[in-house]
């Protein structure tokens, strides 16, 4: 069988390629080539005033700018010892709901599902199943509209600041979204039922799942970092448990646990660790479609996203209904030198930031660990696990199955690259 080579992966965020070297029916070499250029964010954050940080880190990723803004502002608020207004905290969750909705709907329908529907793109699908695609686009649009109502625009919103928000969105603007959100909740339940019927390739991996966990809510913005192997760390302790290191045959800096294991972040990890904190409709849909947790098939990340879509639609409705802006939308900051960490759950998984600031509020040091950098070693390990299956397939099917695995991770290569460290040795 010929080697599998995909010079440019389609339907992923950013630019990457895939190479699987086969010999005697075995994979001898697997490379996820990242040729997205470095952009040096951590370098040019140094010297910027802390209030400029969320505007800059948003630009790391056009699909999940809110995640970058949130991890930044929480880290900087910890550095200053600031706690935000409870309604501002709730509004941050609502904003994150908007990002989850647009990002998940995009990934489910436009990026991953075409691999199981025998089409090259959702646009091609529109020819045979226009209603599916129209509903998909509407599901996605509602998330973008929610972001726009809170942040002014959906890509790189402008309203989040260290200390809260620049302004309270008008309650009427948020309430006006309720009919669409109600439609979205019903449509997302249908989406989850449909997602349960898709022909996922078979693959079960014994992952170490890692996600933010909060006893009272689905872990997104605050909590402890929980591992399925029992490790529990506070956010400031993150770097004690998870380490980045060069490994052979990779052009990325790969994360692993202190015990030297790879681990998985993202929708499967969140759903498996935090399903008790899901909203009722999402718990009900898990029962109705008969999903057995933990889900261990990486391709079923799509199903986990669909279940989360139900959750975030329902949570958004609840947060809009209880929205009561009162007083100032932000805390006045007293500048002092300090260090702070922030970790939030981006749609693709745990996103960790650490900053040091001086007494003028200028950044002296920045460290950012994006979800895709943490998942890259897992993607390669999964491809090795998949190899015995794909050597039995036609070259075309094998290529698609391997590509599909990478896409199922929803890798954000633009995010990852700005922090990836390129390979030490040429193989």
């Amino acid at each position: 069988m010929k080697n599998i080579e995909v010079p440019a992966l389609a339907r992923v965020e950013g630019e990457g390629g895939l190479f699987i070297g086969l010999q005697d029916g075995k994979a001898v070499e697997i490379r996820l080539d990242i040729y997205e250029p470095p952009r040096f964010f951590e370098g040019f954050l140094v010297g910027r005033f802390l209030q400029e940080v969320p505007d800059i880190t948003a630009r790391i990723c056009g699909i999940c700018p809110v995640a970058y803004q949130m991890s930044s502002v929480y880290a900087l608020e910890r550095a200053l010892g600031v706690t935000i207004h409870p309604q501002a905290r709730a509004l941050r969750r609502l904003m994150y709901c908007g990002e989850y909705i647009e990002s998940h709907a995009l990934h489910i329908y436009l990026l991953q599902a075409p691999d199981m529907l025998g089409v090259q793109s959702a646009l091609e699908l529109a020819a045979t199943a226009p209603e599916v695609v129209k509903n998909a686009l509407r599901l996605k649009k509602i998330g973008n509209n929610l972001l726009k109502a809170i942040g002014g625009r959906s890509v790189h919103p402008v309203n989040v600041c260290v200390g809260g928000f620049y302004r309270w969105p008008k309650a009427a603007d948020l309430k006006a979204l309720l009919p669409d959100l109600e439609w979205g909740l019903a449509a997302s339940i249908e989406c989850a039922k449909w997602a349960a019927t898709l022909p996922y390739p078979e693959l079960e991996i014994d992952y170490e799942f890692v996600a933010l966990h909060h006893p009272d809510e689905y872990g997104v913005i605050e909590g402890e970092i929980l591992s399925s192997k029992g490790r529990v760390l506070t956010i400031p302790e993150y770097e004690n448990g998870y380490i980045e290191e060069h490994v052979e045959r990779s052009n990325a800096l790969h994360s692993h646990t202190v015990d030297g294991n790879t681990y998985l972040v993202g929708p499967l990890a969140r759903l498996n660790l935090n399903n008790q904190q899901l909203f009722p409709a999402a718990k009900q849909v898990i029962k109705d479609i008969g999903v057995e947790l933990p889900l261990k098939n990486p391709y079923k990340s799509l199903l986990a996203r669909a279940i989360e879509l139900v959750h975030f639609y329902e949570e958004a409705i609840s947060l809009v209904n209880s929205y009561k802006p009162e007083g100032r939308s932000y805390i006045t900051l007293k500048l002092k030198a300090g260090e702070g960490t922030g970790a939030t759950e981006a749609p693709r998984g745990l996103l960790y930031h650490r900053y040091k600031i001086d007494d003028q509020g200028l950044v002296q040091f920045a460290k950012i660990t994006p979800p895709t950098a943490q998942n890259l070693p897992r993607i390669e390990a999964d491809l090795f696990a998949l190899a015995p299956q794909i050597v039995e397939m036609s070259h075309e099917k094998a290529t698609l199955t391997a590509e599909h695995l990478v896409r199922a991770y929803d890798p954000c290569i633009s995010c990852a690259t700005h922090f990836l460290k390129l390979k030490v040795e040429n193989v």
Partner: protein, 261 residues
């Protein structure tokens, strides 16, 4: 209109993906767009790809590596009309902040083994490397403007894009001037319209996503801004932001720094 549908290719260079995403975010128009154009290459949206030449090439991102320099030349050869999409493509964008420092020092900060990186010392606009037929600013671009440009091309007319500043958008929205009324530093008077004045409307100053206007009296604005600084160096940092390498913003920030010395 010619009997065949014009072919479209969409490419990504150094960027965050947000401007391409703005195309996929045209939820109401995407299917019509796919009907009016023949999407021949758009990696983020489809696995299907066909070789050029293409009628329209849309390019997101700035040029930051030797490989990208070669790639953009090949894309230019394949494209009848080349559109630079977004502030990275029109000015270098956020990653052009490296241009103000020693890129090697930055690489050393971020990477353990910078000797294995292939990058240029500067991040630059597409037009610094090849001829560009149309530049569309924004971080991200305004999807209404993207539609206007495509629709103008399909109908063989000039696109109607605003030549005025963010100030006019504030006035149109009835937003009270944050600079005059609250003394908040804002470079909206010197920034092209397109965002809908979302920052002043949120009670904060504009930070220049849509690039400099052609006609603003920057010296006069700068005099006001330097008096309103809330933290030392704020005016320089405002200009040296998303559109910081656009010549007008670059020059005024350089002048300020020279005066400070």
């Amino acid at each position: 209109m010619s009997p065949h549908k014009p072919t479209l290719a969409v490419y990504k260079f150094s960027s965050c993906d947000g401007c391409q995403l703005s195309i996929l975010n045209m939820e109401d128009e995407l299917l019509d767009l796919a009907g009016a154009l023949d999407i021949a290459y758009f990696l983020e949206a489809t696995r299907a790809e066909r070789p050029g030449p293409y009628d329209i090439a849309i390019v997101e991102g700035s040029i930051t590596t030797p490989h990208e320099v070669e790639r953009i030349k090949e894309i230019r050869r394949q494209a009848k009309v080349l559109i630079a999409l977004g502030t990275c493509a029109t000015s270098g964008g956020i990653q052009a902040l490296r241009n103000f420092t020693d890129a090697k020092a930055l690489a050393n900060t971020v990477y353990d083994h910078p000797e294995y990186l292939h990058y240029l010392d500067t991040a630059t606009a597409i037009a610094e490397h090849v001829a560009v037929d149309l530049e569309l600013w924004g971080c991200p671009v305004n999807k209404g403007q993207v539609l206007e440009v495509i629709s103008a091309l399909l109908n063989n007319r000039r696109p109607n894009l605003p030549a005025y500043s963010v100030c006019l958008e504030c006035k149109r929205r009835g937003t009270i001037c944050v600079l005059v009324d609250k003394g908040i530093p804002c470079i909206g008077p010197a920034t092209q319209a397109g965002c809908g004045a979302i920052c002043p409307t949120s009670g904060r100053g504009c930070y220049g996503c849509f690039g400099p206007t052609r006609s603003t009296n920057l010296d006069s604005l700068t005099n006001i801004l330097t008096k309103l600084e809330r933290t030392p160096g704020e005016t320089v940092r405002l200009y040296r932001g998303i559109s910081g390498y656009a010549p007008a913003f670059r020059e005024i920030a350089d002048e300020l720094l020279k005066e400070a010395k």
